[in-house]
């Protein structure tokens, strides 16, 4: 049930566009108003959420240390897993953000009975996660060719790399395949691994379905039910140059794709997808383990009621004297 409602929701979104565009010809609404509104929501929402995190202090210095600390000079420090300076933290964060270092830790050879060695299923989570995120990044960059006049060289390079296999015409993008496969895997593991199924919420399935639908509509447009991409680009260039115009002859499939992406953009800041920004702010990862070297300031540190030595001595003076422990007041 937790998976079914989000599924229906995505179907509903698709139907909404079909009805809106095909029947009611609300091109301007779905082509212009919604995308602009979604982009604004996305930008404002992400900034809002990040600022909200940013204005919450980090009162304590709580890195999770995963390697040897900086200590006596003859003991080798693990400078990335337990950084004591900014450089190490940066490398640690880069590994975390770009290689999913922590998930990778799951990848361990397992011992079975007997000499057989196999790998745990966990590496698949790492692999699928990594493929999904990298594919998504490549796909987003590739899409810039629809949003730039005189497409920048890096975008063209990414596009070239992505179609490097030169399969079919239009050339098959590696990331299209990886993206769909990875998202499908992430969905399947959510419904087949009992523990993961148990912890999953509707809010975990919705983005997966949305991404799958976005991916599928895109793939359909490129490889199967082709749209006239010159018209599409004419339209998208209108959007980014802030002179939106409806270009006739673009198929509904494109509007579905656009609307689903708009939904994703608008949904993004209010959901777990904000882990994109959050991963940078995680105090267990982005702090150096140098709290004995440099004092970490807690902005709301306040004085607390303590039991002072004087009070203590007051309580135990006679016993202390008897035991030969020096006291302040005789």
């Amino acid at each position: 049930m937790k998976a079914f409602l989000p599924f229906l929701a995505v179907i509903f979104l698709v139907l909404l566009v079909i009805v809106g565009v095909k029947t009611a010809s609300l091109y301007f609404l779905f082509g212009v108003v919604v995308p602009y509104a979604a982009l604004l929501t996305f930008l404002a929402g992400v900034v809002y959420r990040t600022v909200k995190w940013g204005t919450t202090p980090v009162p304590f210095h709580i890195p999770t240390t995963c390697g040897q600390q900086k200590t006596l000079p003859w003991i080798k420090q693990s400078k990335i897993e337990n950084p004591s300076g900014t450089g190490g933290v940066i490398v640690r964060m880069l590994l975390e953000v770009f290689m999913f270092r922590s998930l990778f830790r799951n990848l361990k050879t397992e011992m079975h009975e007997g000499p057989k060695i196999t790998y745990g299923s966990d590496k698949w989570l790492w692999l699928a996660g990594l493929s999904f995120h990298w594919s998504f990044l490549f796909i987003v960059i590739r899409h810039l060719r629809f949003f730039t006049q005189g497409v920048p060289m890096p975008v063209q390079i990414v596009e070239g790399l992505d179609s490097f296999l030169q399969i079919g015409l239009p050339l098959v993008y590696i990331t299209d395949v990886l993206f769909l496969a990875a998202v499908t895997y992430l969905f399947i593991r959510r419904v087949t691994i009992p523990q993961v199924k148990y912890i999953s919420l509707a809010a975990d399935y919705f983005p997966l379905f949305l991404l799958l639908a976005i991916g599928c509509s895109g793939v359909l447009m490129r490889y199967f039910l082709r749209v006239d991409i010159v018209s599409v680009k004419t339209f998208t260039m209108g959007l980014v140059s802030l002179r939106p115009k409806i270009v006739p002859g673009i198929s509904t499939l494109f509007y579905i794709h656009l609307f689903l992406i708009s939904t994703l953009f608008a949904y993004f800041p209010w959901s777990k997808l904000m882990h994109m920004g959050g991963v940078f702010l995680s105090p267990t990862r982005n702090l150096a383990n140098n709290s004995r070297i440099k004092r970490h300031i807690n902005p709301w540190n306040y004085p607390v009621k303590v039991h002072t030595y004087a009070e203590y001595e007051e309580d135990f003076r006679e016993k202390m004297k008897m035991a030969g422990v020096p006291v302040e007041k005789e």
């Binding site: 769909l180 399947i188 799958l212 599928c216 793939v219």
Partner: protein, 268 residues
């Protein structure tokens, strides 16, 4: 993983709609051949059940003949002339008896056979080793026996070159275009990184023309249907002593060499 059937169906259905299965499914539905369009054979093209070539070695007299034939081929297919022998691209070329029919020579054999120069090309084998090894099916055998090379699919792995016992395949180590002096504008070139070879002039046969080499050989080379008992190829094979290259390898080549024998008197 035990999972009841209903759940399995649910997952399967969902992944079919959304997942990898989706595009495939949609691909079937959405393949956009315009309904009435079709493809067909060129009228008047030469057809055969099994294409074969017979080369009457004795009819090719000297270097000028060889040059004329190879030039015709180069011209027709924009085969580059690359001076560096390591980078050479050849569809048809020459060699001596010892190399062509390796192992069949002896010190006392007829001199005019032994000293003869032979034209070499792709043998369009019945059992082509190159086709078996190609990982992308870029090289394939047509039903009429012609072994073809699809440059669009070739990934340049060169397995076929290693597999071919006749050295019939060339790799484009460099961009060939600068080495094509006077290109034939009606025929493409190849790009760097792909393997190429003789195609039996398939594009000419389809148009009803003889292969370029056959045309330039002044009758020394004949191409035709091996399966046609009354065709020119079979007639030549029936009336001459012929050799094929390395028949013991089991590839069953389709290029035959008419060898002059004593008493044949052709060069006597």
């Amino acid at each position: 993983m035990s999972m009841d059937r209903r759940e399995f169906m649910k997952i399967a259905a969902l992944s079919a709609v959304f997942g990898v299965g989706g595009p495939l499914l949609m691909g079937k539905l959405g393949a956009r051949n315009l309904e009435a369009s079709e493809f067909g054979l060129t009228p008047g093209g030469k057809r055969a059940k099994r294409w074969a070539m017979v080369i009457d070695v004795s009819k090719i007299k000297g270097p000028a003949d060889y040059a004329r034939i190879t030039r015709a081929c180069r011209k027709a297919h924009n085969v580059p002339v690359i001076p560096d022998p390591k980078h050479e691209v050849m569809w048809i070329w020459t060699d001596d008896y010892e190399h062509v029919f390796e192992g069949t020579d002896n010190p006392y054999m007829e001199a005019n056979v032994k000293d003869q120069t032979f034209l070499l090309m792709c043998n369009h084998c019945d059992h082509p080793a190159c086709v078996r090894v190609c990982p992308t099916k870029a090289t394939f055998k047509r039903p009429d026996g012609i072994v073809m090379q699809d440059y669009h699919r070739c990934i340049g792995c060169r397995f076929c070159m290693a597999a071919c016992p006749y050295g019939s395949r060339s790799f484009n180590w460099v961009d060939p275009r600068p080495y094509i002096k006077d290109p034939n504008p009606t025929y493409p070139t190849r790009m760097i990184g792909v393997v190429e070879k003789c195609t039996f002039c398939v594009e000419r046969l389809d148009q009803g023309l003889d292969p370029a080499c056959v045309l330039a050989s002044n009758g020394a080379m004949v191409s035709g249907d091996l399966m046609d008992p009354n065709g020119p190829v079979r007639k030549l094979l029936a009336s001459n002593f012929t050799l094929r290259r390395k028949p013991d390898l089991g590839t069953s080549p389709n290029v035959y060499y008419v060898i002059a024998v004593i008493g044949g008197g052709k060069n006597a």
